[in-house]
Symmetry: C2
Subunit: 227 residues, 2 copies
Amino acid sequence: MKKAVVLLSGGLDSATCLAIAKDEGFVPYALSFSYGQRHTIELEKAKDIAREANVVEHKIANIDMRWIGGSALTDNIDVPKHDSVDQLDGSIPITYVPARNTIFLSYALAYAEILGCYDIYIGVNALDYSGYPDCREEFIQSFETMANLATASGVKAQSRLTIHTPLIDLTKAQIIAKGLGLGVDYGKTLSCYDPVDAKPCGHCDSCLLRSKGFLENGITDPALVKG
Amino acid sequence: MKKAVVLLSGGLDSATCLAIAKDEGFVPYALSFSYGQRHTIELEKAKDIAREANVVEHKIANIDMRWIGGSALTDNIDVPKHDSVDQLDGSIPITYVPARNTIFLSYALAYAEILGCYDIYIGVNALDYSGYPDCREEFIQSFETMANLATASGVKAQSRLTIHTPLIDLTKAQIIAKGLGLGVDYGKTLSCYDPVDAKPCGHCDSCLLRSKGFLENGITDPALVKG
């Protein structure tokens, strides 16, 4: 069985992505980041999800990104709140962390090279998403091209590295339906940009998109039931 | 005057690169990494060089890469020693750190975005180098393509990000000649992979290539004179 590095944030998308990697026959190695995010509760969620999924290894890389600043997720900037998903205007919001997926994927690339593994899973999504540039298909494709020129294994051409984005064309509702079919326990996940006492705020972009996804599946978000 | 992010390791190449960025009219912002390298003396050298060059800001990002392992620069693996530069066989050596330049450039990209800057300088060199895959022109070009799809400023197409590699086609002797012309004090730089008491070992790949470069310029390495 082939190994895969799976980026795991503790949110709904990456938990689904991990379940898909396993379903597609990969032995998962999870990678999370302590990057200076204001809410580290998501790392506890990531640990729970990784344990539940029986990953071979779960690395949490300690990489400070606070010095970069400029984002509501790492800096002392308010996370925008809305009453409805219709208020999201498609522009790049202040929760965007400069180059975050580029940095995360670069570490995944290093980890994959050490593991002798040629598959990376990332739960980016370009449909029901917050408008981040580094969640788009064209970004992922160009990262993959670059990655194959960046490493010793790429140069030796032992194999070709693939970045898997199984969620990229799915709506949030479709992601949830897929995950439920694979037995993902969404009660263990946290998607909120600004949780209070480990509970979702219900009004940030991420909460609104998640909520819409569960609604369209005709069920209540189990994280809210538990909360 | 335009800003540029300059990656600064404390070695000969990056010190020359910083001088070139200034000579080409950029206001330099230096970026170094405390990444778990075994020899942190290079960070002290980087601070000296940045101070001497009057950079506007010198950030040292604290990013642990030791958990990745597999390299003589971060792990408990001996740095290979040779008697002559002729013994370098062109294969990728054990001093290679998986995806290091990809990770460093990703942080430079984040820093550039926050600065509102579209120019990054990196002192990679594909001629007299240690055979690292992420020092080659084709890697840099594909990183640049990816970078322009990765960020908010790239998407807004306010300007196009350029990765400058002024040393890429130069021999070590040519790099030194260029730097001397720009007044670089090579006595302040340290290129060694395995220094002892802050002095170069004289036998690692990096020492041998550096030594050859000074010899071809008909001068003694000022770092050795000082040592």
